[in-house]
């Protein structure tokens, strides 16, 4: 399609515009903003799309405000082999006129014109492409949507063997895709339906196997049952045979019974004879035993009697020994008594001597103690005489110091008078003084005066001095009082008194210590008592007990006397020990004699007992002998010895005969083979019983198997199996069929996709190449452009750097958008080509790029119609061969 001329009247704000466009090449339509450039495009759209009577908003908006004039749009268009003028009047007196100039004149009006125009255009022009190749002001800057534009496709196809394919093919692809989707998921996995079918097949196979197994099982049971039944029949036959055999054996046994009974009878007889013989022998033996016993008893009697005699003799001897031991004992006792009395006397002496020594000691102790007491009392008295103890002394000393201090104070308080005048006389309280060369110093203490030269000088003490002197007086008084109390004269006296007291104290301490020492370890009270007792028992005139002591009790002699008594005591003690030893020896003698006497007596008792026993035993034996004899007599009365012996012989003969008969019967039994027959019978019975057991077991088994069959038979397993097989087969076929269809769908889709992709790739190339050639003008020769299968620019590579379209700068995108359209138009140029319409484009491009774009535009203009609407004509100044149209407002 080529736009040749376009005319607007009363279109929106435009009174009238008419532009003539070069059918090939670039036409730049220049006009200021709002002069109505875009209206040109809108008007063309309205002309093609809307009826003249349309009240559509787009149409109504074109009505000029406030004017009653109709809006007219007229276009002269070349479309393929047609050239026509198409005119529409809107709003007022709407009309449509179509005048076809080429190839054959036509005239149409109204709706007819509208339809014919569309018909022509539809025939010759790819209208969607026309819309796609526009770059309109205000419309977002975007790539042209070129995919599957038929004319483009066909144009591209012209250079490629394969056809891109049109609606039909796309529909086919869509249907193939849909068919694919019936069997496969988008990720290419089998849909659950397919898997379910597979599962069904598996399930079917499992069911078939299970049923086959069951049927086989039943078959086995049938076979087993058959075998068991056969075995049962065989067993029954065998059982009958066993019973017959048993009967036979038992009959035989019965027949031989007579022989057995006979043998038994002879055995019984043998037993009887044997016992009779044994009895007879027993009797003979008993008689002989009796006789023997009698002889024994008589011998025993004699023996016992002898024993009794010996025992009597022993007893007599024991008597004599007892008497002798008694005598010895008596003598020992006498000796002991004598020694005892001797010892008593010696003991008394010793005791006395000891006591005396003790008394002496006590005496000494007491006297010493008394002396110490006296010393202690004397010391105490002395101490009492001295009253000045340390405390008192201290007090005196302090009083003395106080007095001294007070007097010093008083002295110092007192004024001191110096009297000079050697040789002058002074009279004081003390007397007269003559002043020497040195001045006379007088202290005027309270009340002191001196007189000189008829002048009496008295000191009038100050209060202070009075006080000090009072103090002094007081202190002196106190000191004197204290000394008086203590009975001493002054401090020195006190000191002497204290000293004396101390000495007395020491003396007392010493005395007390001596006393303590004496009292330690001694019970003085007991000692005094002992002394008192002794003196009471032995008045001083009595000398016998002790060598005595002097009446004054002087300890010096007492010591000597003590030594004597001690010696005596020792001697007495020695005597006592000797007497005791003798006594002890005597006691031992007595003990020995006593024990001997005792043992003699015991021996006597023993001998006595033995004698009694022996006599008793002898008597008993005698009695027994009598009894035995009597017994024997009685027996003999019953049957004499000879008779018994005869009986034994007879029974021995009987026994031998019975043995012979019994042996004969046993032989007969053995020969008859009774044993064998019995064994056979036992065995036959066992066999029969075993056979019965086996038969019962087989019958049980048979019954069980038959029951199983009965149950299974009714289940119709075989039918089920046949049905399962059929179902499995159906499932398998369904699965196979489904799989085939799924595979077919996938194969077809893949084949179509593959072909389509290849075709697309093939025809994308011309567009890409064309675009790249144009882009070289703008970006340089080393630019590379990549176009995707959807015919959109994917990326631009410049200087080795590939940038996706979306990330390019606005300027670059704008440029590529324009170039894309130009490339498309250049490819499609020809019959169904359409003009490229650029409405105010390239606003983002810098001068250098504009330069390149101008070259590109010019290149496109060589084969296409390019219409550029702009208010900035400078932009397109460089486009070679462009014609310019101006729009005036």
């Amino acid at each position: 399609m080529r736009l040749l001329r376009l005319r607007l009247e009363s279109f929106r704000g435009v009174a009238m515009h008419e532009v003539e466009l070069a059918p090939t090449g670039v036409t730049v339509v220049v006009g200021d903003n709002e002069v109505g450039k875009t209206s040109l495009v809108d008007a063309l759209d309205l002309l093609l799309d809307q009826y003249d009577s349309s009240r559509h908003k787009r149409v109504r908006q074109t009505q000029p405000v406030g004017q009653d004039a109709p809006t007219v749009v007229e276009a002269e268009v070349r479309a393929g082999r047609y050239r026509f003028t198409y005119r529409k009047q809107f709003h007022r007196q709407p009309s449509t006129r179509l005048v076809v100039h080429e190839p054959a004149p036509e005239q149409h009006a109204g709706r007819e014109a509208h339809d014919r125009a569309l018909e022509i255009l539809g025939e010759e022009v790819d209208l969607p492409l026309w819309r796609a190749l526009r770059l309109q002001q205000g419309v977002p800057l975007d790539q042209a949507d070129l995919e599957a534009r038929t004319s483009l496709a066909q144009a591209l196809d012209a250079t490629v063997v394969e056809s891109v394919g049109g609606e039909r093919e796309e529909t086919l692809v869509a249907r193939a895709e849909a068919e694919f989707g019936r069997y496969w998921t988008p990720t290419g996995a089998v849909r659950t339906e397919g898997r379910a079918l597979e599962a069904d097949v598996e399930e079917g196979a499992r069911r078939v196997s299970a049923l086959e197994a069951s049927v086989a099982e039943v078959e086995r049971v049938v076979d087993a049952l058959g075998r068991v039944r056969a075995d049962t029949a065989a067993e029954r036959g065998a059982g009958e045979r066993d019973v017959a055999a048993l009967a036979l054996a038992e009959a035989r046994v019965e027949a031989l019974r007579e022989v057995v009974r006979d043998a038994e009878r002879t055995r019984a007889e043998l037993a009887a004879a044997s016992s009779a013989h044994a009895l007879a022998e027993q009797r003979v033996a008993g008689r002989a035993a009796s006789r023997g016993r009698l002889v024994e008893v008589v011998e025993e009697v004699a023996e016992r009697r002898g024993t009794a005699e010996v025992a009597a003799q022993d007893e007599r001897e024991a008597h004599e020994r007892v008497a002798a031991a008694g005598t010895v004992l008596d003598e020992a006792l006498e000796e002991q008594a004598r020694r005892r009395s001797l010892r008593a006397a010696v003991a008394r002496q010793e005791e006395q001597a000891r006591e005396s020594a003790e008394v002496d000691r006590s005496r000494g102790l007491v006297s010493r103690h008394d002396e110490a007491l006296a010393a202690a009392s004397a010391a105490e008295r002395a101490l009492a005489g001295h009253r000045v103890d340390d405390a008192a002394l201290a007090e005196v000393e302090s009083l003395h110091r106080a007095w001294t201090a007070a007097s010093a104070r008083a002295g110092s308080a007192a004024p001191v008078v110096l009297l000079r005048g050697p040789g002058e006389r002074v009279i004081t309280a003390e007397g007269e003084h003559v002043v020497g060369d040195d001045p006379l110093e007088l202290r005027l203490a309270g009340g002191s005066w001196f007189e000189v030269g008829g002048i009496r000088v008295e000191g009038r003490p100050t209060p202070e001095q009075q006080r000090a002197e009072a103090d002094e007086r007081r202190c002196a008084a106190a000191l004197a009082a204290s000394c008086h109390d203590l009975g001493v004269e002054g401090l020195d006296g006190a000191m002497a008194g204290a000293h004396a007291r101390r000495a007395a104290q020491a003396e007392q301490d010493r005395a007390r210590a001596a006393l303590q020492q004496l009292a330690a370890g001694e019970d003085l009270g007991a000692a005094r008592r002992r002394v008192t007792r002794w003196e009471e028992a032995h008045p001083p005139s009595d000398d016998r007990a002790a060598p005595g002591r002097p009446a004054d009790g002087s300890s010096a002699e007492g010591a000597d006397a003590g030594a004597v008594t001690r010696a005596a005591a020792e001697q007495a003690a020695r005597a006592l020990r000797g007497a005791e030893e003798a006594l002890v020896a005597a006691g031992q003698e007595v003990a020995t004699a006593t024990s001997r006497h005792e043992s003699a007596r015991a021996a006597l008792d023993l001998a006595g007992r033995r004698l009694v026993e022996a006599r008793a035993a002898a008597d008993a034996a005698a009695t027994r002998a009598q009894l035995v004899e009597a017994e024997l007599e009685r027996e003999r009365a019953g049957a004499g010895d000879e008779v018994l012996r005869a009986r034994v012989a007879a029974s021995a003969d009987d026994l031998a005969a019975a043995e012979r008969r019994a042996a004969g019967a046993a032989d007969a039994v053995r020969e008859a083979g009774v044993e064998g027959a019995e064994v056979e019978a036992v065995v036959a019975r066992q066999r029969r019983d075993d056979g019965r057991k086996r038969l019962r077991a087989l019958e049980d088994e048979s019954g069980a198997l038959a029951a199983v069959l009965e149950a299974r038979g009714g289940e119709g397993l075989v039918e089920e199996l046949a049905e399962a097989r059929a179902a499995h087969e159906r499932a398998r076929r369904a699965c196979v069929s489904w799989e085939r269809r799924a595979t077919a769908a996938r194969t077809l889709r893949d084949a179509l996709d593959e072909a389509r992709r290849e075709a697309h790739l093939a025809y994308v190339e011309p567009l890409r190449a064309q675009l790249q050639r144009l882009a070289a003008h703008v970006f340089g020769a080393d630019v590379r452009v990549d176009v995707g299968p959807d015919l959109r620019i994917a990326s631009r590579t410049l200087g080795g750097v590939t940038v996706p379209f979306e990330q390019l700068s606005s300027g670059a995108r704008e440029q590529l958008a324009v170039l894309g359209r130009l490339a498309c138009a250049m490819l499609v140029s020809g019959g169904s080509g359409v003009p490229v319409l650029l409405d105010d484009a390239l606003g983002y491009s810098d001068p250098q790029r504009l330069d390149g774009m101008a070259r590109a535009l010019a290149a496109a203009g060589e084969s296409c119609q390019v219409v550029v609407l702009t208010c900035v004509p400078e932009r397109y100044r460089l486009v070679a061969g462009a014609s310019t149209q101006r729009l005036r407002g």
Binding site: D157, E162, S163, V164, G165, G166, R168, E169, L172, V173, R175, A176, E179, V215, V218, E219, V221, V222, D223, A224, L225, G226, R229, L705, A706, L709, E710, R712, G713, G714, E715, G716, L717, V718, E719, A722, E723, R725, A726, H728, E729, R730, R740, R741, T743, A744, A745, T747, L748, A751, L752, E754, A755, R756, E758, A759, H760
Partner: protein, 399 residues
């Protein structure tokens, strides 16, 4: 004296290629056949019916089959003698010998257990199978020491394969035909009623040894099933030598099992297929096994698919014999033009066509003959490509 000879009822039989609904119809037809032969027996004045083996499909048929069998037997007006065959031997699990069968079976039904049975003046000898694998010729045993007796007519009922009759090598249980023929010649046997072969077949030269065949077909490869035989031995004492036996074939079967093989390479062939399918009589009782071989265009293949689908709806069973069928789809220019495919779609279609032919082409290139028995070699990819082409045809042709 006439009697009816039938065999191989195999009641309770199922076939996996029958849909459940078709199976039910088939099962009912088999019971119906029993009733039908009862009517035949009455019409032809038969004195009794012998069933020479395989009365039941197995010894494990369900209770319902036994019950329905006895019910159908009740409608047979004359005594029925049942011989246990290899499908229903007299083993421990035998249905015919079971308590239940004895209870349910009508009184005029008798199971032949090897003891001679006297019925309608005829001595019936039997060689029942007692296990699935007999170890001897049961028929010979049943006839052991048989001598002809004047005035006594004997019929032997046996089951199994007859020697020298198609068996690869004779087993121990094969029936010795020569011995039987000798007995027949000698007059010891008047007729031998055999079962096991499902097609009605005359055996040997005597004209008295027959397989009656199954009263309803059971498989596609049977030559002449669906019959019962009415055997007429004539009246006793009708002169010597005895009159020849007249054996009349009477059809009772309703179902038919067919096999058809077709080659299709052109529209006419497809028309022929259509005709063949349409002309089948009694479709709902027909089980068809079809093998189709050929190379078709997309359109033709689509047509064939539609025909087969339609036929499957109508027939009792339609099996396409996979092993003997091969339809190669080769789309031609007409196909593709007809589809109005251009551009990449056409490319894709042509590519698929090449793939579909790939295996055969490779084979030819390697000097092969393009397949055996008219079957070109195929690979999974070729099959996938063919199916894809059929799908393409369907999707594109949908407008």
């Amino acid at each position: 004296m006439r009697f009816l000879h039938t065999a191989d009822w195999q009641l309770g039989m199922t076939r996996h290629y029958l849909s459940p609904e078709a199976q039910a119809r088939s099962t009912e037809a088999r019971f119906e056949a029993v009733r039908a032969l009862g009517r035949v027996a009455r019409e032809h004045g038969c004195a009794f019916v012998v069933v020479a083996g395989d009365v039941l499909e197995t010894n494990h048929v369900g209770r319902d089959v036994v019950a329905r069998a006895c019910e159908a037997l009740a409608e047979v007006p004359v005594p029925v003698l049942l011989l246990p065959g290899n499908h229903d031997p007299l083993d421990a699990g035998s249905v015919l010998a079971s308590e239940r069968f004895r209870r349910l079976a009508p009184s005029h039904v008798q199971v032949l257990d090897g003891e001679p049975v006297e019925v309608a003046g005829v001595q019936v000898l039997s060689a029942p199978w007692r296990s699935k694998r007999p170890v001897e010729d049961l028929a010979a045993r049943a006839c052991a020491g048989l001598v002809p007796e004047p005035g006594v007519r004997r019929v032997l009922v046996a089951h199994g394969a007859v020697q020298s009759f198609g068996a690869a090598e004779p087993g121990a249980a094969t029936i010795d035909l020569a011995a039987l023929e000798r007995l027949v010649d000698a007059g010891a046997l008047d007729a031998v009623c055999l079962g096991d072969r499902h097609s009605t077949t005359e055996v040997g030269r005597t004209g008295r040894v027959w397989y009656s065949g199954a009263p309803e077909p059971t498989d596609h490869d049977e030559l002449d099933p669906g019959n019962v035989l009415v055997v007429d031995l004539g009246e006793p004492g009708e002169g010597t030598p005895r009159p020849p036996a007249r054996v009349t074939r009477v059809r009772v079967g309703r179902w038919s099992f067919r096999r058809t093989h077709l080659e299709v390479a052109s529209d006419e062939d497809v028309d022929l297929l259509e005709e063949v399918l349409a002309s089948l009589p009694d479709k709902s009782r027909t089980a068809l096994k079809l093998s189709v071989v050929g190379t078709l265009s997309l359109a033709q293949k689509a047509r064939v698919d539609a025909l087969l689908e339609h036929a499957a709806d109508l027939l009792g069973a339609l099996q396409v014999w996979e092993r003997r069928s091969e339809l190669v789809v080769r789309p031609d220019a007409v196909d593709l033009d007809a589809l109005g495919l251009t551009g990449f779609a056409r490319e894709a279609a042509e590519g698929l066509a090449v793939r579909a032919q790939a295996a055969a082409a490779a084979d030819l290139a390697a000097g092969g003959t393009g397949g055996e028995r008219g079957r070109p070699p195929v690979t999974a990819d070729a099959v996938a490509a063919q199916d894809a082409l059929s799908l393409l045809h369907r999707l594109a042709a949908a407008g």
